[in-house]
């Protein structure tokens, strides 16, 4: 330990405390269980010293000091209100001041019962106020967005909300206006507080100035039951607290977890819970009889399915599984096992983006070694994102990258459309969809030219014939310069570009960096781990490996089939030949790029079983619909993008007769005749037994590179965070903050189009009509359309754009 790192010793109220140099007094006090009252201070925000509530006496200083801005010093003698008249008087004085203009709203203020002002006034304030003059008045409440209401009278001007918006989120739409007693938090009227992180200010506001419009007047804190669980709306894996009142889900709060989400969650995680208690939930098993769905008992439904499975097996017809990407790990594992041992097939797929060999290899490799973690983002000297819009697709990871950017860490984005997220100093390299592989090959070539000797043979072969542009050279130089401390984050979309994933992986290895695979959905990583993939078994094992199959056979009692299965596209193409097609939390008729193919497949398949929460486009076409429990309704584990297991805990019992997927599968398996783990414990025991040894490391080879995209316009698309999916049901206020669907095009391609006018985009699989936005946040030769219900399109496809209407 060097001298600079030596801890600092001081006393607080006579008690010794030893903390690292640079610690603020207020944090040091917390270490020994002393709470110094505060409003503007927040451990995750830069110190401000504005509210003056945390005044303490420091020996040798003539004035009291604010504990939240003063770092400790060796030998410092600090006295808080417990042992110092000055501190006590100071704190009492500040509370009295704060209360002179504060309205007596407690009876009707949502914050009551969990209000730091109430609590601290009681503990540290004067018993009564001497103020008899009028309080300053404001019109109240004022909606500053569909989700957040502002009450300026209650505001204590701690500036937590404005600092959060500016420092953490990078969305300074909320600011302090005016000055003196007129000072107030406000927005610019036609620029509402539409930040995907807006709900956090409700949580950190120490009074009831910022409240949730959806939670307004619904419950007192002491009326609610809480369950700590993990959010499943993206792959960030944030810890949340789900709160219910008399069995009704009323609120979701962020839970402090410094390693993953600090104390933040995005608005989707916070406000999109109503779907779970939507009246549209399927709450009973449904079996189609004479063309109509009829509600039946579980026993009957399970038997119908089991009988069909047995019949298919006897007739020699193969069955298949299309899995969703929202499954909890244990469910995913159970489904993977079910496919292999009950259906006897490797025709299992959970992917939405079907890639090549390199995708398989990366997905197999994910459970171990070079994958990145949040701490790598914290310590990286360079962060590169490829084919992912973190702000849109994994918001809390975006916040972490933004945090690094604020410290001066360079961030490079390689994508077809520049992310709307605000990262200081971030540089964007425009790259048309389909050309990522060429770009990465060029970077690899430039890396080698700079003396990097870590590239594997398949990469070296693939990069021949690619001439690095100056941009690729520059990227290579940046990478080579931070050997050992670079994080490369790639989106799952990259799998659609043959060679891109593999190149990204191998480049990361060559510069000794860490690799992060950022899927859109919460269960995608778990699905890959569970082997919901035609070639993979759980834990990255391979169906084509005799040893791996044998190991599974030992625990499962049946060896998995040895041939690589069909992927989702092939499954739908050959649907009429199937015995049973099982959909588990999947809605291909909505989610797949080629919807028509999926819908046709579902219609043509002789027997379709859907495990789902809603009668989706796909479930409607099924023969049997089995009601599945929502994530709030059951226990389990979810792997976030880092591969970190995150606990899921039930907050409410399942709706109606719904059950967790693993329970449903166990019942079907039993009815079809066979052993199958029945409980979470049994599943976990199996998993442990199977995956004690990590799978052997497999090289990721880069095969044929994608052919460069055609001239003309190609499509770029991804699903926005606030989309029109089934799990947004009931979240009306949140949906109002979603961006309108617009077609984005670069000025160089706009050819006379002006922003706002309606256009039509013709894509091979469909067309869409929407207003156009001419912007240089989109690469040249690219048209960006967000994935949504009215539109089907695959990134990289050739499209045309023209004015709509006559």
């Amino acid at each position: 330990m060097t001298v600079e790192q030596a801890p600092v010793n001081l006393t607080i109220d006579g008690e010794d405390v030893s903390v690292p140099a640079g610690t603020l007094i207020i944090r040091a006090a917390e270490k020994i269980g002393k709470y110094i009252p505060r409003f503007c201070d927040h451990p995750l925000l830069d110190p401000l010293g504005a509210c003056r509530q945390c005044l303490v006496e420091v020996e040798g200083q003539r004035k009291p000091l604010t504990a939240c801005t003063t770092p400790v010093a060796e030998g410092m003698v600090v006295k808080t209100e417990f042992t110092s008249e000055l501190a006590r008087d100071g704190q009492e004085g500040v509370l009295e001041f704060l209360l002179i203009n504060h309205p007596l709203d407690c009876p009707m203020c949502d914050k009551g019962g969990e209000c730091p002002l109430q609590d601290q006034a009681l503990a540290y304030g004067p018993g009564s106020s001497r103020y008899i003059d009028p309080k300053r008045r404001f019109t109240k409440p004022v909606p500053i967005s569909p989700l957040v209401k502002l009450d300026r009278e209650r505001c204590v001007l701690c500036a937590r909300c404005t600092r959060f918006s500016d420092q953490i989120a990078g969305d300074p739409f909320i600011e302090l206006f005016e000055r003196s007693a007129l000072e107030q938090v406000a927005i610019f009227e036609d620029e509402p507080y539409e930040s995907i992180f807006s709900g956090n200010v409700i949580q950190i506001c120490p009074v009831g100035a910022l409240t949730s419009s959806t939670f307004r007047f619904r419950a007192r804190p002491f009326d609610m039951a809480s369950a700590d669980t993990t959010c499943n709306r993206c792959a960030s894996g944030c810890r949340i607290t789900v709160q219910t009142r008399r069995g009704e889900l009323v609120r979701v709060l962020a839970k402090d977890d410094r390693e993953v989400n600090d104390e933040w969650i995005c608005d989707k995680g916070r406000f999109a819970h109503p779907y779970a208690q939507s009246p549209e939930r399927v709450v009973e098993p449904l079996v189609r009889k004479n063309g109509e769905f009829v509600a039946v008992s579980w026993a009957e439904a399970v038997q119908v399915v089991a009988d069909r499975i047995t019949a298919a097996r006897e007739a020699g017809k193969g069955s298949a599984v299309i899995a969703g990407q929202q499954l909890v790990d244990e469910d995913a594992y159970a489904l993977s096992r079910f496919a292999r041992t009950v259906l006897g097939t490797n025709d299992v797929d959970a992917r939405r983006v079907l890639g090549g060999e390199d995708e398989d290899a990366v997905l197999a490799a994910l459970p171990k070694t070079i994958t990145a973690a949040n701490q790598d983002i914290d310590t990286a000297k360079l962060i590169v994102t490829i084919g992912v819009d973190l702000h849109e697709e994994s918001p809390i990871v975006f916040l972490r990258v933004r945090k690094a950017g604020r410290k001066g860490v360079p961030v490079r984005e390689i994508s077809a459309r520049r992310s709307a997220g605000n990262v200081q100093g971030a540089r964007w390299t425009a790259c048309r969809p389909g050309e990522e592989a060429t770009l990465l090959a060029g970077v690899a070539r430039a890396l080698e030219a700079r003396g990097n000797s870590g590239l594997d043979p398949s990469t070296r072969a693939a990069m021949q014939g690619v001439d690095p542009t100056s941009e690729m050279q520059e990227l290579a130089a940046a990478l080579q310069g931070v050997h050992g401390s670079v994080v490369i984050l790639v989106g799952e979309r990259l799998a659609a570009v043959p060679g891109a994933l593999g190149l990204a992986w191998n480049i990361t290895k060559a510069v000794d960096g860490t690799f992060g695979w950022i899927p859109r959905k919460a269960g995608a990583r778990g699905a890959a781990w569970a082997g919901l993939h035609p070639a993979l078994l759980p834990g990255g094992r391979s169906v084509e490996s005799t040893d791996d199959r044998a190991a599974f056979g030992e625990v499962w009692g049946i060896d998995p089939p040895s041939r690589r299965g069909r992927d989702a596209r092939a499954i739908f193409r050959t649907a009429p030949e199937l015995g049973v097609l099982l959909l588990a939390g999947a809605d291909p008729a909505t989610d797949f790029a080629d919807r028509q193919q999926a819908a046709r497949g579902l219609d043509d398949a002789p027997f379709v079983v859907a495990l789902d929460m809603f009668l989706t486009e796909s479930a409607r076409r099924a023969d049997v619909v089995l009601p599945a429990a929502a994530a709030y309704e059951r226990n389990g584990t979810v792997l976030n993008w880092e591969g970190r297991p995150r606990p899921v805990k039930a907050a409410v019992p399942p709706a109606g007769l719904a059950q967790a997927d693993y329970e449903i599968l166990a019942q079907i398996a039993n009815a079809a005749g066979g052993e199958f783990p029945q409980t979470l414990e049994a599943l976990r025991k199996e998993i442990k037994a199977l995956l004690v040894q990590p799978a052997a490391a497999r090289a990721v080879t880069v095969g044929q590179l994608a052919r460069p995209s055609a001239d003309g316009l190609v499509l770029a698309t991804h699903r926005p965070l606030l989309d029109d999916g089934t799990m947004m049901k009931g979240a009306d206020a949140l949906a109002q903050t979603a961006a309108q669907v617009v077609v984005e095009i670069n000025p160089a391609d706009a050819r006379g189009l002006t922003s706002g006018e309606p256009v039509v985009v013709h894509a091979p699989l469909g067309e869409v009509r929407a207003p156009v936005l001419v912007t240089d946040a989109v690469a040249r030769g690219v048209v960006f359309v967000p994935a949504h219900a009215g539109f089907a399109g695959r990134a990289g496809e050739a499209v045309t754009v023209e004015k709509a209407g006559g």
Binding site: V142, E175, R179
Partner: protein, 209 residues
């Protein structure tokens, strides 16, 4: 409590309410000069041009409109809230179109003892408005110490001081302004510029560097 301008504490949110119909759109000259102002400051510090740009907009429109705040926000890469936060902090950025002549009356004790308070009240009476309002060519405001106390009572017309005038003479001067006349030279011998040009100068657009 009302603030010094007599405004009740409740303020509506900044926004459309602050676009008065009469404001002309910002000209090409505005944009050219705004760019030039940004160049005064070091690389990466363009935000320093914010207050100057607000003056520049006020010079053209007679006040700082919501549209101006939007345009300036776009020019500097700031949100409208960030621009509004700054614009509302400072008293010299006006929320309503001002007349050709802004008459500011100091009522601090040094001036009050010499008649400043009476001057303010007489002017409100003569013009038929309260401080913070406008009547024709004349806008009236009550201000904090203008730091010219040896010339008490002090009032200014577009920030050009008039000192040691009797209340009657001062009222007479303002009445002539309202009648459409230009003001006489101020205490330093120079005639005030109109509100527009004064704000143009405040932006620094005419400074040597």
């Amino acid at each position: 409590m009302t603030d010094i301008q007599g405004r009740w504490m409740d303020t509506p949110l900044m926004g459309k309410a602050h676009d008065h119909a009469a404001a002309p759109p910002l000209s090409e000259r505005f944009h050219a000069e705004a760019r030039k102002l940004t160049a005064r400051y070091p690389e990466g510090q363009s935000r320093s041009a914010l207050l100057p740009m607000l003056y520049l907009a006020q010079a053209e429109q007679g006040y700082v409109s919501a549209t101006a705040m939007r345009v300036i926000g776009d020019l500097l890469g700031l949100t409208r809230a960030q621009v509004g936060a700054v614009a509302t902090f400072y008293t010299m950025f006006k929320r309503d179109p001002q007349g050709r002549w802004l008459v500011s009356v100091c009522t601090h004790p040094s001036c009050a003892l010499a008649g400043g308070q009476q001057l303010k009240e007489r002017l409100e009476q003569e013009l038929g408005i309260s401080c913070g309002e406008t009547s024709g060519d004349v806008s009236l405001e009550e201000v904090e110490c203008l730091c010219a106390c040896d010339g008490a009572p002090v009032f200014s017309v577009n920030y050009e001081n008039y000192e040691r005038m009797s209340v009657d003479d001062a009222v007479g001067l303002v009445n002539r302004l309202r009648a459409g006349e230009v003001p006489p030279p101020g205490a330093r011998g120079e005639v005030p510029e109109e509100f527009g040009p004064v704000n143009h100068r405040l932006s620094g657009a005419e400074a040597p560097r």
